[in-house]
C-alpha cells in the first residue's frame, strides 16, 4: 500500500472513531508504552503484544482500539545543505539516524530509544531528549513543522521546512510532547545538525554537590560542553566541537580522558535509559533548576543535564527524609486556589518528593512504579490545566485520542 492509501485509511479510522466516540490509543513501536498516566498506560505495559508488521493498522486492546502508526513511514525529504529532514510518523528512528549519519549529520536532541527502535512520531509526541539537551536543545527546539490528523479527519500543516517561521501560532512545537492528546502527528520536519568534528569525554572524581557546582560554573564559561552527568562519585563531562576547541577545553578541565568506546557506552546508556538505575521497580525523574544542590534524600541520584535532570530509584513518595521545611512548602503554595480533580496542585502537598521538587522550582514524575496520588506527571499549574483541557476539547471534542495518557480524566 502506498503512503497516500495508508494515510486515508488512518483518516477513515479516526473519523469513524470520532463518530462512534471510540477511544484510540495512538501507538508507534511501543517503546514508550510504559510512559504516561492513566489506566491505559499501566495496562499496556504488561499486556500489549502487537504484530510487528501488519497491513492492518489496528488491533484491539481492551475497550480501546490501538491505532498502529508504523505503516505510515518513510523519509519524505532530506537535503543535508538545508539542515532539515521530513519524515512520516511511523519512520523508525534508526532509519532516520542512518540517513543522517551517511551525510555526517544527526539529531542533536538525542531522543531515547529504550533499547528498541521507536518511531519518529512517537519520539516527537513524547518530546523526550537525551544528554545533549541543555547544550544543543530539547526535542521541541528542533521541531520546524508538523502535520496533524485531527479528530474531524482534517489534515493540518503547521510550521514548515524552514529555520524561521512565525506565521500562525506555533502549533508544531505545541504538538511536541503532547502525548498524542490533540491528534495524530502524521509527519514532522526537524532541524538537523552536522555531527561534531571532535568529541571527548572526561571523568572526574568528586561528590555530587561539587559536581553540580562545577557543571554550573563551566556552563557559564565559553566551553564546548555537550554533556555533564554524575553517578557514584564520578562526574562525566562530554566536549564536542572543533578539534582545537575540544583539546583546549580538555586541558582546562583536567580529569581522566575516557576511551571513546567506553564514553559512547556511557552516554548511550544515559540517552536510552539503559543505565542500571533504570532496572529499579520504582524510579522518579526530577527536572530541577540546574543549580539545585543535591536533595537530602536517602538514595543517591543519577544526575544528567548538568544538574537539571535527576533520577532517584526509591519509593520517594514516602521517603521520610523527603519532608521539606514548612517554610519552603508554604512559599511555593499556588497563588490561585486549586478547585479539584486535575487542577489539584501538588506543590502544596505536606511532604514527599513532589513538594521537594516544587520547593526547588522543578517537577517530579513517577517514571516507574505504582501510580502515586495526583498521577504520574507532576500536577499542572491551575491555569495551565484549564487551558490544556480547553485545547483538548477544541481539537478532540469527543476525547478519542489517548484518553488519560497525559492527565487522568482528559
Amino acid at each position: 500500500m502506498d503512503a497516500t492509501a495508508i494515510l486515508s485509511e488512518l483518516r477513515e479510522r479516526v473519523m469513524a472513531a470520532h463518530q462512534q466516540r471510540q477511544p484510540l490509543r495512538l501507538r508507534g513501536a511501543g517503546t514508550k508504552d510504559f510512559y504516561g498516566a492513566g489506566p491505559l498506560g499501566d495496562a499496556s505495559a504488561s499486556t500489549a503484544t502487537l504484530p510487528t508488521s501488519s497491513a492492518s493498522t489496528t488491533a484491539q486492546l481492551g475497550a480501546t482500539s490501538v491505532l498502529d502508526l508504523r505503516p505510515y513511514r518513510g523519509i519524505v525529504d532530506y537535503e543535508p545543505s538545508e539542515l532539515v529532514i521530513t519524515a512520516r510518523c511511523g519512520t523508525p528512528l534508526s532509519e532516520i539516524e542512518t540517513a543522517l549519519a551517511d551525510r555526517g549529520q544527526f539529531l542533536a536532541f538525542e531522543p531515547p530509544a529504550f533499547g528498541g527502535d521507536p518511531t519518529i512520531g512517537g519520539a516527537i509526541a513524547a518530546g523526550l531528549s537525551g544528554p545533549r539537551r541543555m547544550y544543543a536543545g530539547a526535542a521541541r527546539d528542533f521541531v520546524l513543522g508538523a502535520t496533524l490528523l485531527d479528530a474531524r479527519g482534517d489534515i493540518l500543516r503547521f510550521g514548515g521546512q524552514v529555520m524561521k517561521n512565525v506565521a500562525g501560532f506555533d502549533v508544531s512545537r505545541l504538538l511536541c510532547g503532547s502525548l498524542g492528546i490533540l491528534g495524530v502527528i502524521t509527519e514532522v520536519s526537524l532541524k538537523v545538525l552536522p555531527r561534531p568534528r571532535a568529541e571527548e569525554t572526561l571523568r572526574l572524581e568528586m561528590p555530587a554537590k561539587q559536581a553540580v557546582e562545577a557543571f554550573n560554573r563551566w556552563s557559564g564559561q565559553p566551553l564546548p560542553l555537550s554533556g555533564a552527568a554524575w553517578w557514584d562519585g564520578v562526574a562525566w563531562v562530554r566536549l564536542s566541537g572543533a578539534a582545537s576547541a575540544v583539546r583546549a577545553a580538555q586541558e582546562r578541565l583536567g580529569g581522566e580522558r575516557v576511551d571513546p568506546t567506553a564514553a559512547t557506552q556511557w552516554w548511550n546508556a544515559l540517552r536510552h535509559c539503559q543505565h542500571p538505575i533504570f532496572e529499579s521497580n520504582t524510579l522518579w525523574r526530577l527536572s530541577l533548576p540546574d543549580t539545585t544542590p543535591p536533595l537530602s534524600l536517602s538514595s543517591q541520584p543519577l544526575i544528567d543535564w548538568g544538574g537539571a535532570l535527576r533520577w532517584y530509584a526509591t519509593d520517594l513518595q514516602h521517603d521520610a527524609s523527603a519532608a521539606p521545611s514548612a517554610e519552603s512548602a508554604a512559599s511555593m503554595a499556588p497563588t490561585t486556589s486549586a478547585p479539584s480533580g486535575i487542577e489539584e496542585d501538588g506543590r502544596a502537598a505536606p511532604s514527599g518528593i513532589r513538594s521537594m521538587a516544587s520547593a526547588a522550582g522543578g517537577t517530579a514524575m513517577c517514571w516507574r512504579g505504582a501510580t502515586p496520588a495526583g498521577g504520574r506527571f507532576h500536577p499542572l499549574q491551575p491555569t495551565v490545566a484549564t487551558l490544556t483541557r480547553r485545547l483538548k476539547d477544541r481539537f478532540d471534542p469527543h476525547g478519542i485520542f489517548n484518553p488519560g495518557r497525559m492527565i487522568a480524566g482528559l
Binding site: Q161, A242, L380, L387
Partner: protein, 484 residues
C-alpha cells in the same frame, strides 16, 4: 460604550496619569514600526505594575473592550496597530531588570526592558542574551516574546523561543498564567512555545525569564564578494553542506551595499553583485580553524575577493552596514516596505531572479538583504507614498514575493510576524481548516476575542474575499494561466 466611560473605569484602577485620552496624547501610539498603517486608539493605558496590568485586563474584559498590548512599538508588521474602539496597553513602564543570576545564567525581566540592555547587564559576568534583532537598541523583550523575534545569529543560537525559559502574565480574564520555568521540560502541553510568537492574541506577559549564555572569547567575520547573486546563494549552501554552522551568515545585494556604504562606510566591495558575511565565534583556536575552512569553501564557490576582520572594531564595522540596511533604505528612498519571507536556502537564486523581474513589472526598485543562513529574506521595496499609486504597487509587489515564498516551500514571515500587514497572505499559506485550528487555539485562551482582534489570523470571510488568487501549499489552481 463611550471613551469617557471607559476612561473613567480605567481611572478607578490606575492613577490618573496612567490613562491617556487626549488626542495629542494618543497620536504617538497610532502606529508601530510599520507606519503605513495608522489608527488612533480609543485610549492608552500605561500601567506601572503587574497588578495594574491585571486590573486593566479585568476592566476591559468586564466592559468588553478590545486590548492591544504594545512594547517599544518597533514591530514591522503592524502587530500593535491600535484598535479604533480599544485600549492600547503599553508595557513600556514595566522596564526593570528584576534579577540577573550569573550562576544560574538567567535574567528575569519585565516586558519593557530593551533587548540590548539585557546583554549589557549580563556583560560583567561574561554572559549575554543571544537573539539580536536589528532593532535591539530599542525593541523590548516583551515584544520579542510576542513576535518570536530573531536576528543575525539565529542559525547557531536560535530564536526567542529557544532562549526564553519562562513567562509570567495574565489571560484576558485576569488569570495568572506561569509558563515554563527554570527547570527544563515542564509536564503538560508546551504552552510556552505556543505563547511565544502569538502576537498578543493569547496572553499579556508581565515577566520574562531568559537564558544567558557565555560570550564567545572571540568572533571574526569573513566578507566575501561575488560576481553574481546566484553564486553567492550557492556559496551559502556550500558552507552548510561542509558541516559548518557559522555564528552569522548574511547576504546583501549590490543595491543594498550601494545604499549602505555612503551611510556607514562599512568598507563593502561596491563592485560585487553580492557580498556574504560569514562569522565564526568560539575559542581563538576554533575561530582560526573555522575561518580557514570558510575561506576555503567560499574560494571554491567562486568568491572574487575576501577580507577577514582583523580586529573587533573591524568586525563591528562589517556588521554595522548590515544592521543599518533599513535606515539606509530610508535615506535613499522616501519610503520602503520590508518583506520577511523565508524559503529553503536552495531557492535563493530563483527567488532573486523573480524579484528582479518584479522590479520591472511594478516599476519599483528593491534592495535585498538576507539572513542567508536561515533562508530569511528581507527585500526592501523602495517607493514614495506621496506619489499616487506607488504604495499600492509596493503592496502588491510584496504580496507577490510572499506568495512565491510559499510556492518555493517557505513561509510568509520568518521573524516579523503577521500582524495586520500579512493577514491576507495567511490565506495563501494556510487552509480553512488550519485557520480554524488557529481560531480554536485563540478561543481556548480568549473566548471573547478581545486580545488584539483582527491580527495574525484572518477570518474565513476575509480569506474568501482575498481568495480570488488563492494558492495553498504550493498548489496554485490553474497554474498554467499567467496571472502576474
Amino acid at each position: 460604550m463611550s471613551q469617557s466611560e471607559i476612561a473613567a473605569a480605567l481611572r478607578q484602577v490606575l492613577p490618573a496619569d496612567c490613562v491617556l485620552s487626549q488626542d495629542e496624547e494618543l497620536r504617538p501610539y497610532e502606529c508601530d514600526g510599520l507606519s503605513v498603517f495608522r489608527q488612533k486608539p480609543l485610549l492608552v493605558a500605561l500601567p506601572r505594575t503587574e497588578d495594574e496590568v491585571r486590573q486593566v485586563l479585568v476592566t476591559c474584559r468586564r466592559l468588553e473592550v478590545p486590548v492591544v498590548a504594545r512594547g517599544a512599538g518597533t514591530g514591522l508588521s503592524g502587530g500593535s496597530t491600535p484598535h479604533e474602539s480599544g485600549v492600547l496597553l503599553s508595557l513600556a513602564r514595566l522596564n526593570r531588570i528584576l534579577e540577573i543570576d550569573p550562576v544560574a545564567r538567567i535574567a528575569r525581566l519585565q516586558p519593557g526592558v530593551r533587548n540590548l540592555k539585557v546583554s549589557e547587564a549580563a556583560a560583567p559576568h561574561g554572559l549575554y542574551y543571544a537573539p539580536d534583532p536589528s532593532s535591539q537598541i530599542a525593541c523590548s523583550i516583551g515584544g520579542n516574546v510576542a513576535e518570536n523575534s530573531g536576528g543575525v545569529h539565529c542559525l547557531k543560537y536560535g530564536l526567542t523561543v529557544h532562549n526564553v525559559l519562562a513567562t509570567r502574565g495574565f489571560t484576558i480574564d485576569g488569570d495568572l498564567i506561569e509558563l515554563g520555568g527554570r527547570a527544563p521540560d515542564h509536564p503538560g502541553l508546551d504552552l510556552l512555545a505556543l505563547a511565544i510568537g502569538s502576537e498578543g492574541l493569547l496572553v499579556v506577559v508581565t515577566e520574562v525569564t531568559v537564558k544567558l549564555i557565555p560570550r564567545p572569547q572571540l568572533a571574526r567575520v569573513v566578507m566575501a564578494s561575488f560576481a553574481d547573486v546566484q553564486a553567492a546563494g550557492n556559496a551559502v549552501a556550500a558552507i552548510i553542506g561542509a558541516g559548518i554552522i557559522p555564528a552569522g551568515l548574511e547576504m546583501m545585494d549590490r543595491k543594498a551595499t550601494a545604499a549602505v556604504e555612503p551611510f556607514v562606510n562599512a568598507g563593502y566591495d561596491l563592485s560585487a553583485e553580492a557580498i556574504l558575511l560569514a562569522e565564526a565565534d568560539g575559542t581563538p583556536e576554533e575561530v582560526t580553524d573555522q575561518i580557514a575552512e570558510i575561506e576555503k569553501v567560499l574560494q571554491a564557490a567562486g568568491a572574487t575577493a575576501m577580507v577577514v576582520s582583523s580586529s573587533e572594531a573591524e568586525r563591528l564595522r562589517f556588521w554595522s552596514g548590515r544592521k543599518n540596511a533599513f535606515p539606509a533604505a530610508g535615506r535613499v528612498s522616501p519610503d520602503y516596505y520590508c518583506m520577511d519571507g523565508t524559503i529553503p536556502r536552495k531557492n535563493l537564486g530563483p527567488m532573486l531572479k523573480a524579484i528582479e523581474d518584479m522590479e520591472t513589472r511594478y516599476s519599483l526598485r528593491c534592495m535585498n538583504v538576507f539572513h542567508a543562513g536561515d533562508g530569511n529574506l528581507h527585500p526592501l521595496i523602495l517607493f514614495d507614498a506621496n506619489t499616487p499609486g506607488e504604495w499600492d504597487r509596493a503592496d502588491k509587489f510584496g504580496a507577490e514575493i510572499l506568495e512565491l515564498c510559499v510556492r518555493l516551500g517557505g513561509t510568509i514571515t520568518g521573524e516579523h510576524g503577521v500582524g495586520i500587514e500579512k493577514i491576507n497572505s495567511m490565506c495563501v499559506q494556510f487552509s480553512d481548516a488550519e485557520r480554524a485550528a488557529f481560531f480554536n487555539v485563540k478561543a481556548a485562551f480568549d473566548a471573547t476575542g478581545l486580545l488584539n482582534p483582527g491580527k495574525a489570523i484572518p477570518t474565513l470571510a476575509r480569506c474568501a474575499e482575498y481568495g480570488k488568487m488563492h494558492v495553498h501549499a504550493g498548489a496554485l489552481p490553474h497554474a498554467d494561466i499567467p496571472r502576474f
